[in-house]
């Protein structure tokens, strides 16, 4: 078993814990090459896309982009035809998540890393890698389901119900524009900003997309990509391409949107 050569990227923001994971892995699986060690989610995505490792260890809580968001970004941006790396989440304490992990197709490791437990994980990873003879073009369906379950398990329930947004206040120059939510066709996140697109005009607001999402009615707006949220009623057609992504056209707007493979399951004929 130990002879299987593979490569991994470790994403962990706490240096001591990263060192411990690396040392334990070296002990359990000497042929596993650590291609990169990074300390935040965005770097994990970037390095993994560049190095194409077999395995990515992702700490759940990291600065900037969380481990879960990094996994979603990897699943969305991974090149077609190449096998997605196996993802192992690492967490010290996330009580809501543990049961989700138990049922998920992804593996997880608890900190402090336990030798025996990590051994089990390593054997499982090796078995999966060996049985994976050729790259699967489609995302493993369990991964899609697991990420969805984990996403909801890890988002803390709000202590008070979040008020639904009625209008967007966007500034253009020094003028504040009041944009009724009913006019918004879709939101597109770019870095720290969100493009708010109506049939006539686009506005920019400064807010993380996940914060905005809490204020939207999930039946009215669907997230179709980690950076895109669209009004369901504004969607005219949805066409799935052979990579598993879904191309959307809108009513009353020329934009073409793409639903990533993680959200492609939303579009099915009745």
């Amino acid at each position: 078993m130990q002879s299987l050569a593979a490569s991994a990227v470790i994403a962990e923001d706490e240096p001591l814990l990263a060192a411990r994971l690396k040392a334990t892995l070296a002990q359990l699986w000497p042929q596993l090459r650590i291609a990169a060690e990074v300390s935040h989610g965005a770097a994990a995505v970037e390095r993994a896309l560049a190095l194409r490792p077999d395995i990515v260890f992702l700490d759940i809580r990291m600065p900037g982009m969380s481990g879960l968001e990094a996994a979603e970004a990897l699943a969305e941006d991974w090149p077609e035809g190449a096998a997605l790396p196996l993802i192992v989440f690492v967490t010290a304490y996330d009580q809501y998540a543990l049961s989700a992990f138990e049922h998920a197709a992804v593996d997880y490791v608890l900190k402090p890393v336990d030798l025996d437990r990590l051994g089990v994980t390593c054997r499982r990873l090796q078995t999966t890698l060996q049985s994976r003879e050729q790259p699967t073009p489609d995302l493993p369906p369990q991964l899609v389901a697991s990420l969805g379950a984990l996403r909801s398990a890890l988002s803390r329930p709000e202590p008070t119900p979040v008020p639904r947004l009625k209008m967007i206040q966007a500034s253009i120059g020094t003028t504040i524009h009041i944009v009724p939510l009913a006019e918004v066709l879709f939101f597109e996140a770019a870095d720290k900003y969100i493009n708010v697109v109506t049939a006539r005009q686009a506005y920019v607001i400064r807010m993380p997309l996940r914060q905005l999402l809490q204020h939207l009615d999930p039946h009215e707006f669907w997230q179709i990509h980690r950076a895109t949220v669209v009004r369901v009623e504004a969607i005219a057609t949805a066409a799935r391409d052979d990579t598993g992504k879904v191309a959307l056209t809108l009513k009353g707007h020329p934009a073409r949107l793409t639903a990533s493979r993680l959200y492609a399951h939303l579009f099915k004929a009745m």
Binding site: D13, E14, P15, L16, L17, A19, R20, S39, H40, A42, R61, P63, G64, S66, A92, Y93, D94, Q95, Y96, K111, P112, V113, R156, P157, E158, P159, K192, M207, P208, R210, Q211, Q214
Partner: protein
């Protein structure tokens, strides 16, 4: 994690309990007052029979009938007056004690109610005993009228007042109990917040690694953890401590965080010697420092500085917690605002409007967040 859920439960609890108690609780006081009125009727009846040397059973029948009817007319009268005066519940609670229409109205209600009760009760007594009582307006002697009235009106006034004060007392007791429960709950939540499991388990995981690779540093870290735990447990009990103790505690906490974050966390402290002994409520700064870590520096890829300083501004002690993190409104995890709310509540309870907590964007190039507490400090 569980903090927010528990917070929800505790705020739901009282109203859920009220709902569960519902109709039974609303009718029980009326029944209780009726029964008590009956018992007082028996006592008054016995007293009158002995005084006037009349038949004890007959007098008791009259007296109980009168007492019950007096209760009925007074309690229902009170209810009608309240319903008529305050058609909406909100107006009612704004004026007087809910359910009580105020002294002037109550005197009228008691007088009218007790006379109706006396008349009705005497008729009822006649029916039951077959006797023919001479009630007051048919009596020739005005002294008898006044005598009879005294036996009805005076007890009615006294008993009504008694019922009223019992209600006031019960309410006071209930609100005192609620206050005690709230204090206990907030202590518990404070403690839970201090020992945030994620922080705790990550610290232990780091300690686990250090024991293997750097035992002396592991020991130092364990010492910090111990003093942090001790201060947290003591602090949740004590009512005040010197400012230097609060600073020492924060130093322990930040040292623990520094093991985890290494050079992503830089620390600055400034506590002038003259302010070290000023008493402050324990764990006052802790939530602010924790917020700086959790919402400011942890989400930041490059990390930054936390600077905690105390200064004096006339009769006020000014405490500043500043970080160079991602700044307000940019945090990746939305918190429950429990920490800030809890600091505000404690300041309000202890100092009223004399103390304040402000949270604002730090107004310089480095960005981040600045929290300022002002509280009155005895002069030196």
């Amino acid at each position: 994690m569980s903090r927010s859920i528990r917070a929800e439960c505790t705020t739901m609890l009282p109203s859920a309990m009220r709902r569960a108690a519902g109709p039974a609780a609303r009718s029980a006081p009326y029944l209780g007052r009726a029964l008590r009125s009956g018992v007082y009727g028996v006592i008054i009846g016995v007293a009158i029979a002995l005084l006037r040397r009349q038949s004890v059973p007959d007098t008791i029948i009259y007296s109980v009938g009168i007492a019950l009817l007096c209760w009925f007319f007074i309690d229902m009268g009170r209810r009608l007056v309240v319903a008529w005066l305050y058609p909406s519940r909100r107006a009612e609670s704004a004026g007087t004690r809910p359910g009580w229409p105020g002294a002037g109205w109550m005197i009228a209600v008691v007088l009218v109610g007790s006379m109706l009760g006396f008349t009705g009760g005497s008729e009822l007594g006649d029916l039951l005993t077959g006797g023919r009582s001479l009630y007051f307006f048919s009596k020739a002697d005005p002294r008898d009228i006044i005598g009879d009235l005294m036996f009805v009106v005076v007890p009615a006034v006294v008993i009504t007042y008694f019922f009223y004060s019992r209600e006031v007392l019960a309410e006071r007791e209930a609100s005192a109990q609620a206050a005690r429960r709230q204090a206990a709950e907030s202590r518990l939540r404070l403690l839970e917040a201090q020992l945030e499991p994620h922080m705790f388990f990550n610290t232990l995981a780091n300690l686990h690694v250090l024991i293997g690779v750097d035992p002396p540093r592991a020991q130092a870290m364990l010492d910090q953890l111990i003093s942090f735990l001790r201060a947290t447990l003591n602090g949740s009990r004590a009512s005040e401590q010197p400012l230097s103790a609060e600073f020492a505690r924060i130093r322990d906490y930040l040292s623990l965080m520094q093991v985890r974050m290494e050079d992503r966390l830089r620390i600055g402290f400034e506590l002038p010697e003259s302010l070290a002994a000023i008493p402050v409520p324990p764990l006052l700064l802790q939530p602010l420092v924790e917020n700086s870590i959790k919402h400011g520096l942890e989400p930041s890829v490059t990390g930054g500085l936390i600077d905690v300083r105390a200064s004096r501004d006339g009769a006020y002690l000014v405490l500043r917690v500043r970080d160079t993190g991602v700044g307000l409104g940019n945090e990746t995890r939305t918190g429950t605002h429990f920490g800030l709310q809890q600091v505000r509540e404690r300041l309000e309870t202890l100092y009223g409007s004399n103390a304040s907590l402000r949270l604002e964007p730090a107004g310089d190039d480095e960005g981040g967040t600045l929290a300022i507490i002002r509280l009155p400090a005895p002069g030196t």
